[in-house]
């Protein structure tokens, strides 16, 4: 019996090893079998594994003390040590690392405005990405990279990834926490494929996993108050719901509540506590005196106004003089024509290179971009002497010196064939102001005027690629004193289109046949030469 056991001892040990491995695998897989199965298999496995050393102890002892065992043990120890050193080196490498973004548009480098937001971040923000690892691998990778950069600039951003499939309990706990904190129902299902930013009892949810989405979520969650913007109505303004959809969406993404209001039917006085900013977008009817005065009073009380007023070819006065009066500003009744900066050859369609925008908080991040701001039809703004020294104006965009403000509006609008406008001596000459920012110190509001409203309509933004949306958003953020949100456009991937090959068949022949044959030919020649 003993001899038989000695004979089969190696096989007993191998069987023991298999049983022990199976027990460990079952334990790792957390199978739903009976509780006694895994420990029983493990114990039997260990007992059988010891069969060889116990039943053939003399051979085992001789082997352990032998030359091969000593050298083998030495090799194993050295190999494990080296692998351990490499593992430690990799671990240290994850703590201190550098990454170089070699893409031409710095696709993986966060913008200066995001860095500023992070460095000024006051409350801690916890980011929770709810993404399925199998379906959203690329989004998870993008987020991991982004958050690593964010955390380099501030320790106040924490990040966690929840997979709805593997972390259902944590997801439910998150939904319950958000429901309790916000006072409104938040279900676990509604959090699928979202990024939630939580700061104290406030939270913000976004569905984009790029820099704009993550930064937006952080700003919205950490902001201590909600901002509102009103678009005026009742003066034939550009329709907010049909022609300003893009800009409305962009404002809402930055956390603004956007709505339309007729100042003529307000039941309460318009003050800085009522709304953070009022936008007048392309009115084609004059403002009644009472409404203009309400806007002026609103600014004097700390409110902020954005005026976008197009040239009126019929000579209509929009009657916003009361708003402009503190700064002695005038909206000239002209159409700017600029032969030097005529976009696509159209004298009244003016472009301003971004580097030539005037320095201001709202333009500083745009001046380094190789792009333009364009105005399809604009009137000039005349500056005078403000009523007090605390009231200041800053030009944002100007024409070239060759421009002039054409006042012959009747001829322009008639479109007489062969009519070529020429600068008259009494017409204003360039450089003319296309956009201007005005402020008045403590407790006084802010004003931004554009001599055009068409430059940010949906149709125009789609037709012309420019920095117009960024400039619009920046000026509004300046008006509401949300300087943290002064943005630069999201980095777009460089476009390097390929021309269609004139002879696709020849290209296929060259790359898939001739080139490999050439390689084979070289190999064949080398082999033949060596024969």
């Amino acid at each position: 019996m003993r001899d038989r056991l000695r004979e089969i001892a190696p096989y007993l040990s191998i069987l023991g090893l298999i049983l022990l491995s199976g027990a460990l695998l079952m334990r790792a897989a957390a199978s739903s079998g009976p509780n006694w199965l895994v420990p029983t298999l493990a114990v039997i496995g260990v007992v059988l594994l010891l069969g060889w050393p116990i039943l053939r102890w003399d051979e085992f002892r001789e082997g352990l003390g032998g030359r091969q065992a000593r050298h083998g043990t030495n090799s194993i120890v050295l190999a494990v040590s080296v692998i351990g050193i490499l593992a430690v080196a990799n671990y240290v490498g994850t703590l201190w690392y550098w990454a170089w973004d070699l893409t031409e548009n710095n696709k993986f480098t966060i913008s200066r405005s995001t860095v500023q937001i992070l460095e000024n971040l006051e409350p801690s923000v916890r980011l929770v990405a709810v993404l399925n690892a199998q379906e959203s691998g690329e989004d998870i990778r993008t987020l991991n990279r982004l958050v690593e950069q964010y955390q380099r600039h501030t320790p106040k951003v924490e990040y966690e990834h929840l997979d709805p499939q593997t972390d259902p309990l944590k997801l439910m706990a998150l939904a319950e926490q958000l429901t309790t904190d916000s006072g409104s129902e938040v279900s676990a299902q509604s959090l699928a494929r979202t990024l939630v930013a939580i700061s104290g009892k406030k939270h913000a949810t976004v569905y984009a996993f790029d820099e704009q989405g993550v930064t937006e979520a952080i700003v919205k969650a950490s902001r201590d108050r909600d901002l509102s913007v009103w678009f005026t109505s009742g003066h034939d303004e550009i329709p907010l719901d049909t022609e300003f959809v893009s800009m409305r969406g962009a404002l809402e993404k930055q956390g603004y509540t956007v709505s339309k209001h007729n100042l003529g039917v307000l039941t309460e006085t318009l003050t800085a506590d009522t709304v953070d900013a009022v936008i007048v977008a392309g009115p084609r009817q004059a403002f009644p005196d009472v409404e203009a005065e309400a806007l002026a009073e609103y600014i004097r009380g700390g409110g902020s106004v954005l005026l976008m007023v197009d040239p009126q070819l019929d000579g209509l006065d929009i009657n916003l003089g009361a708003v402009l009066a503190p700064w002695d500003l005038t909206l000239r009744n002209d159409v700017i024509l600029d032969p030097t900066r005529a976009f696509a050859g159209n004298l009244s369609h003016i472009f301003v290179p971004a580097p030539e925008l005037r320095f201001h908080t709202s333009t500083r991040d745009l001046t380094s971009i190789d792009s333009v701001v364009t105005f399809p039809l604009a009137r000039s703004i005349a500056t005078g002497t403000p009523s007090t020294t605390t009231l200041t104006t800053t030009s944002l965009a100007e024409t070239s010196a060759d421009a002039w403000g054409e006042t012959g509006l009747a001829e322009l609008s008639a479109g007489v064939q062969g009519y070529r406008p020429v600068a008259d001596p009494d017409e204003p000459k360039g450089p003319l102001t296309l956009a201007l920012a005005a402020e008045g110190g403590v407790d006084f509001g802010r004003l931004v005027i554009y001599g055009s409203s068409q430059f940010v309509t949906d149709e125009y933004i789609q037709a012309v690629t420019s920095l117009n949306p960024a400039l619009f958003l920046n000026t509004l953020n300046w008006l509401t004193q949300e300087d943290d949100l002064i943005t630069i456009p999201p980095t777009t991937p460089g476009s390097h289109p390929l021309t269609t090959p004139t002879n696709p068949g020849l290209l296929m022949l060259a790359t898939a046949v001739l080139m490999p044959l050439a390689v084979l030919g070289v190999g064949g020649w080398i082999w033949w030469r060596r024969r």
Binding site: G93, A99, L102, R141, R145, P497
Partner: protein, 239 residues
């Protein structure tokens, strides 16, 4: 160092004179050329080598073990390994020299793809993103070095080239797909498997990022595999 370089030169020359290398290279060029032609003929394609280089990384999972299968196993089979080991050359010089020879052959194969870069530059209307392409090529070279090192290790374990190639392919497949194993668990286990796997580190290069963590990873796999190969060779002295 000169002894290592002598072994390298000898190995590189042997590979160049071997039909295996040229058949592999021709097959590689055929496959890559075919995909390249389909890509540029597809219409609205971008002048970017990244899709192609990403594919090349996947192809190399099979090509690199085939390139390295004979490095040490052939020496064992033909009995020349004993001669090599009794000559005044350290084991590590033999291993590193052979790996370096195979790596130079790999670089030669990758250099053939510059032909496609030239075609793309001619066809591009506004140039190419040189930075992203550089990062992709760095990734291809680091990946190749690591895969060849794993192949050198498996080659040191057996005198049968086919077994060495098979073991090499299996080993790199396991390393490549480890992140998927990590997705079945959560927390630190997932992070561990994601880090140890090859694919996530390679993807970063393909997108234009050069991260020191990825560089350290590939260099560690290379150094670790070559060290284990040296240890495997050493066992022959006392087995």
């Amino acid at each position: 160092m000169s002894k290592t370089w002598t072994v390298t030169r000898r190995e590189y020359t042997a590979l160049f004179n071997s039909p295996v290398f040229w058949v592999l290279a021709a097959g590689f060029m055929f496959f890559v050329g075919l995909v390249f032609a389909i890509y540029v003929n597809g219409g609205q394609a971008e002048a970017s080598m990244q899709p192609l280089l990403s594919l090349i990384g996947t192809i190399m999972l099979f090509v690199a073990p085939l390139l390295s299968m004979r490095l040490l196993s052939e020496e064992q089979r033909s009995g020349t390994l004993e001669i090599l080991m009794t000559s005044p050359v350290h084991d590590w010089q033999v291993v590193v020299g052979k790996w370096l020879g195979a790596f130079l052959a790999y670089v030669t194969m990758i250099a053939f793809t510059l032909f496609y870069v030239g075609i793309m530059l001619r066809m591009a209307t506004s140039g190419m993103d040189a930075g992203a392409m550089t990062a992709s090529y760095i990734g291809v070279l680091l990946l190749g070095g690591a895969l060849l090192a794993v192949g050198t290790l498996t080659s040191s374990l057996t005198e049968n080239q086919v077994v060495a190639a098979f073991l090499g392919i299996m080993a790199v497949m396991v390393l490549w797909f480890l992140p998927m194993v990590g997705q079945m668990s959560s927390g630190s286990t997932t992070k561990f498997f994601e880090y140890v796997g090859l694919s996530d580190h390679y993807i970063n290069f393909g997108e234009g990022l050069v991260d020191t963590r990825d560089v350290i990873y590939f260099l560690s796999v290379t150094a670790g595999s070559l060290y284990l190969a040296v240890r495997a060779l050493e066992t022959r002295r006392w087995r």
